[in-house]
Symmetry: C2
Subunit: 235 residues, 2 copies
């Protein structure tokens, strides 16, 4: 059986560096024998806000609506909205999840936070007993792959923004590891708009090389990677 | 002139503890002579996702759409969507901004992240020269006020979730302080659903007392706070 990879992708433009990074991942991982699915959140017009509409039928307690409890119940009873159920399927089947996004305000864009809020359902993705090292997704891997708006020096331990590892803590520990994911080192693309075109190409090349090194993501299929140049990616 | 306070509020239910905390703040601060505005994000069906629709008229570069650049330009030219412009007005007029929310996945819910992504527009809320101590909102104060799903011990430095101060860093430093806000100590309501009703009442009482102590939020109007009990708030 082919290993499946899910890429949760959030950029508005097919001409963006994020799109190029996503496309490169699809190409490399597919060539290695993985089956890759992409949740293109903006293209899907993915609903970001956690509301009672995520539950079909009657909610248990409309007056004191509690999203976590209501959606857990709906999940158990097969009453979650179709878009959440479909993301559950993708996530269940995936061995690896890659989140590809431009960092907005030191974390993921709201549309991707909405994916996390709505898809990582209580019961499905975690319980109070099953979290962190005992987490439900402990056999899965996850990675953040993102572009920044600031230079690397600003995110050093002495940088004006503080250490990037601290910035990523709530995402990597609080969300991914909480659900059990083995968190792979983040792929950080320092600000594509502020560097020369050749540097953007080098970053993409390094990304492809890194993914090729992750043959363990997929079955042991002989790599057959087509070299595609993304140097025309202007952002 | 009355000082204005903006409460950005995100909970789906008027029967929630978050609603009670918001209502208590409105009542206390109004009694102290402030003018309080509330952005009730779920009630407003606030759009969370940052898209080209936030710009009216033609975008500069549709093929390589860059949200930050396009919305800065639209802001300068008065072409931002009406909902963003209205939040800009509220934010401009406010001396203090309180964010009231249930913590979702170690940060704000997606709908509130959407407020941050869309309202804290490049140019309006920050520039590369005007940030942190030189930030545009350096004469304003901001505070996070939120409920948790975990007990306090889990968020201690040795707790399973790690130190709450680290969890809050991207929000408090990366968003609020970045825009210049003087960040007030957070108001943390440890998990209301997991504690006795009397403890919930005590937390609300402490919140009211804290707000009464912030007379500097408002003009020096003699406090005339009506004591309202929220002990009937079951969540």
């Amino acid at each position: 059986m082919l290993k499946k990879i899910l890429i949760v992708y959030a950029h508005q433009s097919a001409g963006s560096f994020n799109a190029a990074a996503k496309d490169a991942a699809v190409k490399v991982l597919t060539s290695q024998g993985c089956k890759v699915e992409v949740s293109d959140l903006y293209a899907m017009k993915f609903k970001a806000s956690a509301t009672a509409e995520d539950v079909t039928g009657t909610v248990k307690d409309a007056e004191h609506f509690q999203y976590g409890e209501e959606t857990m119940l709906a999940w158990k009873e097969g009453r979650l909205s179709a878009d959440i159920t479909e993301e559950h399927r993708k996530l269940s089947e995936a061995a690896v999840v890659v989140f590809q996004f431009p960092m907005y305000w030191f974390t993921v864009p709201a549309i991707m936070k909405g994916w996390m809020d709505r898809v990582l359902t209580l019961g499905f993705a975690y319980t109070s007993e099953k979290r962190y090292s005992q987490g439900i997704f402990k056999d899965k891997k996850a990675m953040l792959s993102f572009t920044t708006g600031s230079h690397e020096s600003m995110f050093s331990a002495n940088g004006i923004n503080g250490d990037m590892n601290v910035t990523l803590w709530p995402l990597q520990n609080g969300i991914l590891h909480y659900c059990g994911f083995q968190v792979l080192a983040p792929q950080i693309f320092w600000p594509p708009p502020h560097i020369p075109s050749e540097s953007r190409c080098s970053m993409l090349e390094a990304w492809r090389t890194r993914l090729e090194g992750h043959a363990s993501f997929c079955l042991n299929v002989e790599p057959d990677v087509t070299t595609v140049h993304w140097c025309d990616c202007s952002h």
